[in-house]
Point group: C2
């Protein structure tokens, strides 16, 4: 397989993308095609590894040269339409032309969604593709869908998210009968806004026929007990959910560290506990779960975190290979085409 | 002042309400009027304190006898209309008749909101009263409004929430120029759903005239840095936000404890760190910040957590006294009547 990596996307590109690719390359079966400015990439390779080209590090690493980069400030649709030789647009086109099996980018999220929809294209029968990251939960992961691709949703969109989540969790995480819940502000059927009330009814009616284990409404307070495998929601609420966890996680980390440092006795005593706390902090960081998949488009697309460092690109590359190998996208196509 | 306490409301009533009242009574200037079944309350008092009536414990503790209780399963409007002798309805009526200065209840939230609006009544000029809890943030609290009273909101409602939050923070927390943000999924003006886009414009246009320090859109990831004093949002999104923090907080606490227990060496070493971790856990628990105020009604109403224990009732009683003494409700009335 060939993993296409947008070498210029993200806050720490291209250093972090290059390093992540180098770190991952011997642990995966696939080749990595770095899409970006060849001159700049090779300059960094020279500086970091003392080699003249990235291909000297591993035969499985190659560069596809591009001259433009989509910036964070660019307007998504315009960037995708006009920056034809940007690493992101070229990456998408390589994927579409079959020159790779999965595309990863940490670049402008809006442009990534636009590109995935415009260049790669929606799967027939799916109205809205959506973003699906994995979040930490008790002793397992929690899938969130949609985490921000669609600000306005209809009940049908949420049903389709549930169908895709179901396939994804079965195929990639081997969850036998994924428990799929609707994110809401109460557990009763009558709770919520118009969207959640109508979606509840649709999910309840359709889930049996579609083989979905719909467990009903789930409140945020019960989302992380390990009893829920996927949380279905519109992109606005999902994005609030995701970023709230991120912000609260940061507060937890900061407060915990400062609390431990508060007096010298505690600090000395706490030293043996530090590995546990570090391990704990890692478990609580949703970035550890890799990038977010963009489900509902015809080929595998992975959105890496904008702030990804070497380690995160390494994780995301491995995750992307698993995703491409799993055949999830093909299964989703089958499910929606059979209708 | 007289604090009216719904003695029968909440999962742990009446034991926790009685104990909380007894614990608080010597630390406050006010009297506490426990509203509930006198026989049941005095039976518990006898068992717990060996006294024949609660009044023997302190002259500042009294009971107002009622015969009914609103249950968690009751339909809010029906309960308020038909259970005329319930502790909640009687409590509201006592407040309305001037027989007390603030009303606290941990009972059925829907019924509490209905009762506050129907019995106590909205302040003229305020379209929607809202729930405002304090959440943990970096080295201070973060006010959330609305946390769940209004599932559907208009931009004007959000503007009014901002006005009330502004008064409340200045008056109760002595924040000089409270930083008030709009909870959204991006910081740019153009981000969000229809409600947040329109609310952004309205808040931006009106804030100067109203003396509000509107800091623009705030994402959940930046909500807990201590730079935001109040987060304005509709009741659906606010409730998701609140419960997500609660759920994630539980996960953090559980994972941290289990991580520390993982091996005996770590556990032994971690013992000196335990007070710090306990202190940390407390800081992270939003319940430590007391109950949530119901702002926008003509008299002070405080919603205690349904799961409040003795300590939480104690905190909430002290908070309620501060709220009543502060004159916040009068100030809100003035602000909205001057229009």
């Amino acid at each position: 397989m060939i993993i296409i990596l947008d070498a210029m996307g993200g806050d720490n590109a291209p250093i972090a993308t290059i390093k992540g690719a180098v770190k991952a390359i011997n642990e995966i079966d696939s080749e990595i095609l770095l899409v970006g400015n060849e001159k700049i990439i090779n300059e960094h390779v020279k500086k970091m590894y003392g080699k003249d080209s990235i291909n000297e590090i591993s035969e499985k690493l190659r560069i596809h040269n591009t001259t433009e980069t989509i910036e964070m400030e660019d307007i998504p649709t315009q960037a995708i339409k006009h920056k034809k030789d940007s690493s992101m647009v070229v990456g998408f086109n390589l994927l579409k032309e079959g020159k790779g099996d999965v595309f990863i980018s940490a670049g402008n999220s809006g442009a990534l969604l636009t590109g995935a929809t415009l260049i790669v294209g929606r799967i027939k029968g799916i109205d809205r593709p959506a973003i699906a990251p994995m979040l930490p939960s008790y002793k397992k992961g929690l899938m969130l869908m949609d985490a921000g691709a669609n600000t306005n949703c209809k009940p049908l969109n949420l049903l389709q998210f549930a169908q895709m989540a179901n396939i994804y969790l079965k195929k990639i995480y081997n969850v036998e009968n994924p428990a799929i819940g609707l994110l809401n502000i109460g557990t009763e059927e009558t709770k919520g806004n118009d969207l959640t009330k109508e979606s509840y009814i649709l999910l309840k009616e359709s889930s049996k026929d579609l083989g979905i284990n719909f467990i009903g409404n789930v409140e945020g307070r019960d989302a992380f007990t390990g009893e829920v495998d996927a949380l279905i929601t519109d992109g606005f609420t999902g994005n609030v959910f995701l970023k709230t966890i991120e912000g609260f996680g940061k507060l937890v980390k900061k407060s915990l560290t400062e609390n431990l440092k508060k007096n010298i006795f505690t600090t000395l005593g706490a030293i043996p506990a530090l590995p546990s706390i570090k391990r704990f902090s890692k478990t609580m960081d949703y970035k550890e779960y890799g990038g977010a998949l963009f489900l509902g488009v015809k080929q595998p697309v992975v959105k890496a975190h904008g702030s990804s460092d070497e380690y995160l690109f390494y994780c995301t590359i491995k995750q992307a290979e698993r995703f491409a190998k799993s055949g999830t996208v093909e299964l989703i196509k089958e499910e929606f085409e059979k209708k």
